[in-house]
């Protein structure tokens, strides 16, 4: 039956930041379909001008409360590249270890608190406390572990303080790492329960497919979050992270205070699904099994499955962390006090895979180590155009459904991207 509907969702709930859904159709004809971002922009690139190299990480960490480790690590890497600082293998491995904690914390928060209510047909996690007590407890335990893991390595669980250009301001002890290892081994049971619950509810995820370009860092031999070059499903060639502006092509559009990005097509996607598609061959054994059990395959082009890919990655980061801890403990933690830094003029880029996708920071410093220019390119910026293109493809497919159902499908689509909207309006 030809459908007429108007849907205006002002400030979508259960996402980070402010986004609106605007849909209009008359007699089955789509007239308006918009993903709007009205978030107040904060102008971080302007804030950074005049800041000392020592204070830049402190400022940019505040771009995002949920992925402050990603911003801090990308920032430190960019500053080190600009100032010509190298770090030890121990520092590199401890940072990667710390970053795993943020992936676990962020993914569990997203899947358990923000997405699960849609799959269970409720408005928040609160009713699930009584209807699904065991799995909610598992979510809380895994989330708590992610946070305490971050706190051990980063000094705090939000806006870390232990990462410094050149090394660590405070190192974990071998005993603390050993304790973390024990807790990571225990959390595997919780992750298995979460994965089994998601498997049982996966039928609630819409069967919507729209192939697009998928972009992520890639580093042969490793399911990477921290090193590598920029890879894409549209080309076998990889691009050095120093050339990120050429692949993101950020531009301003009228419907969004956050910039959009495009590479080979009108839009591309970053995040867990992109990483899985590009790097699945290097997942650890239990993560590989988890993907199989969840029905996630490299051919998947269903954006709703991003949340499922996050479950797989939650297992992956725990397995990778167990390996890292073993290597660190075998060699023993060495003191490695920070060496004095002599600032010099230069430009540097740092890139990492934030929980939501590829994140780039570029800084230019003068002879005194004062920042003169900065550019930050956020995962959600790279997803906004892709969300819009998904909207345009989805509406004709579901136009005969009841209005509340259509509204829910669009809200779920936005949530699937795990957008960090205020991050993207930095």
């Amino acid at each position: 039956m030809p459908r007429t509907m108007t849907i205006n969702v002002h400030h979508v709930t259960r996402i980070e930041g402010h986004g609106n859904i605007r849909l209009q159709a008359t007699d089955g004809r789509v007239e308006k379909v918009l993903w709007q971002v009205p978030e107040a922009p904060r102008f971080f690139e302007a804030m950074l001008r005049g800041r000392s190299w020592q204070d830049v990480q402190t400022v940019v960490s505040r771009i995002c409360g949920i992925c402050s480790f990603a911003h801090s690590l990308a920032s430190i890497k960019a500053t080190e590249a600009a100032l010509g600082l190298t770090v030890s293998q121990q520092t590199d491995q401890l940072r990667q270890l710390a970053f795993g904690g943020e992936q676990l914390e962020s993914h569990v928060l997203h899947v358990g608190y923000l997405v699960a209510p849609d799959l269970a047909g409720v408005k928040s996690v609160v009713p699930l406390v009584s209807s699904h007590p065991e799995v909610v407890k598992a979510v809380i335990r895994a989330h708590r572990l992610g946070n305490e893991w971050m706190e051990l390595l980063g000094g705090r669980r939000t806006h870390p303080v232990s990462f410094r250009p050149g090394g660590f301001g405070k190192l974990p002890t071998e005993k603390e790492l050993g304790d973390l290892k024990g807790r990571l081994m225990n959390v595997v049971q919780d992750l298995k329960l979460i994965a089994a619950t998601v498997t049982s509810l996966a039928g609630k995820l819409p069967a919507f497919e729209r192939p697009t370009e998928y972009v992520a860092l890639t580093s042969p031999g490793c399911y990477t979050f921290y090193h590598g070059q920029i890879g894409s499903t549209d080309t076998p060639d990889t691009v050095a992270v120093e050339r990120f502006e050429e692949i993101a092509n950020e531009h301003v559009v009228a419907q969004s205070t956050a910039k959009w990005a495009r590479w080979h097509r009108e839009s591309y996607a970053v995040g867990a699904l992109s990483r899985f598609k590009l790097n699945h061959a290097w997942l650890h054994p239990l993560a590989t099994t988890t993907a199989r059990d969840l029905g996630l395959t490299p051919a998947c082009c269903n954006p709703y499955m991003n949340s499922v890919a996050q479950v797989v990655e939650s297992v992956e980061v725990v397995e990778a962390a167990l390996e890292l801890i073993d290597q660190l403990l075998t060699r023993g933690i060495k003191a490695e006090p920070l060496r004095p830094v002599r600032p010099k003029a230069g430009t540097g880029v740092g890139a990492v895979e934030a929980p939501r996708g590829t994140l780039f920071h570029r800084y230019t410093y003068d002879d005194h180590g004062v920042c003169t220019a900065a550019n930050v390119c956020i995962p959600t910026n790279q997803n906004h155009a892709n969300i819009q293109k998904d909207f345009e493809a989805l509406l004709p497919e579901v136009i005969d459904e009841e209005e509340p159902r259509v509204r829910l499908l669009f809200e779920m689509l936005v949530r699937a991207y795990d957008p960090c909207v205020s991050c993207s309006s930095h």
């Binding site: 402190t58 402050s68 408005k123 406390v129 000094g155 303080v161 660590f168």
Partner: protein, 251 residues
């Protein structure tokens, strides 16, 4: 006891303070015994018309946001500013420059004049509406947030420390950051966070704001002792206390 109807709103910020509420884990379930969330966009899909307790996170940077905040104030019996961005503008104040058009061009280039990209100098929540209580810090401390909510539920007034962060470092036996040749703002910053940053290997950057009556002479003595200058202190103070940093120019 009737539960307080609680709402949480966010303006220009990283939403890291709201995240601390989720980060209370099981403690959040305990808090739900005394408060009932009736509007909290980031976590629940309900909305409400009135609130006993409204938490406002973030800074105010646009006219439309001032209006939205005034509307929240009208609906709220008690309004609490949540975190540094709301309490004094936080890092968002770093963008405040004499020429806001130049700030817009720095980020948006040739598109900077598009109307939806308008921005005004950053204001704290208290510069737009009356604030009843503050939860300081970047991010706010979960312990202090819980304490303040429990006080408000019991209709008592919360007491926040008026001594500097140095006191908490001493109690924790944290080695002073000046011993590492670093400039630390703990000497003038309001305590209450339990000094996690110096313990985590970094200086205090003053995210909780200054103590009511900072011991300026004491701070100068420390600068002298470690070969630092008040200018070093002021440069770091810019990050979270740019207004005070400018006021202490020349001291």
């Amino acid at each position: 006891m009737k539960k307080l109807r609680m709402a949480i709103f966010d303006f220009a910020c990283c939403e890291g303070c709201q995240l601390q509420i989720v980060n209370m884990e099981e403690g959040l379930l305990d808090l739900l015994d005394i408060v009932e969330p009736v509007e909290w966009r980031e976590a629940i899909s309900d909305q409400s018309e009135e609130y006993d307790l409204a938490f406002v996170e973030g800074s105010i940077t646009r006219e439309e946001d001032e209006q939205r905040l005034k509307d929240i104030r009208q609906r709220a019996r008690i309004l609490v500013a949540l975190g540094a961005c709301a309490v004094n503008g936080g890092v968002n104040r770093l963008k405040n420059a004499p020429d806001m058009d130049e700030v817009r061009r720095c980020v948006y280039g040739n598109s900077a004049t598009m109307p939806h990209l308008a921005t005004a100098p950053t204001k704290a929540v208290g510069e737009v509406v009356k604030v009843d209580f503050e939860v300081r810090g970047c991010p706010m401390s979960r312990r202090e947030f819980t304490y303040i909510v429990r006080c408000l539920a019991a209709a008592t007034t919360p007491v926040v420390p008026t001594y500097p962060v140095c006191v908490e470092c001493k109690l924790r036996e944290t080695v002073c950051r000046y011993e590492f040749n670093e400039v630390c703002l703990g000497v003038v910053t309001r305590a209450g966070c339990n000094a996690p940053c110096p313990a985590g290997g970094q200086w205090c950057y003053g995210c909780r704001g200054l103590v009511d009556d900072p011991n300026v002479n004491g701070a100068k003595d420390i600068m002298d002792k470690y070969g630092k200058t008040v200018a070093d202190l002021r440069s770091r103070m810019e990050l979270f206390n740019s207004v005070e940093a400018r006021q202490c120019q020349g001291q």
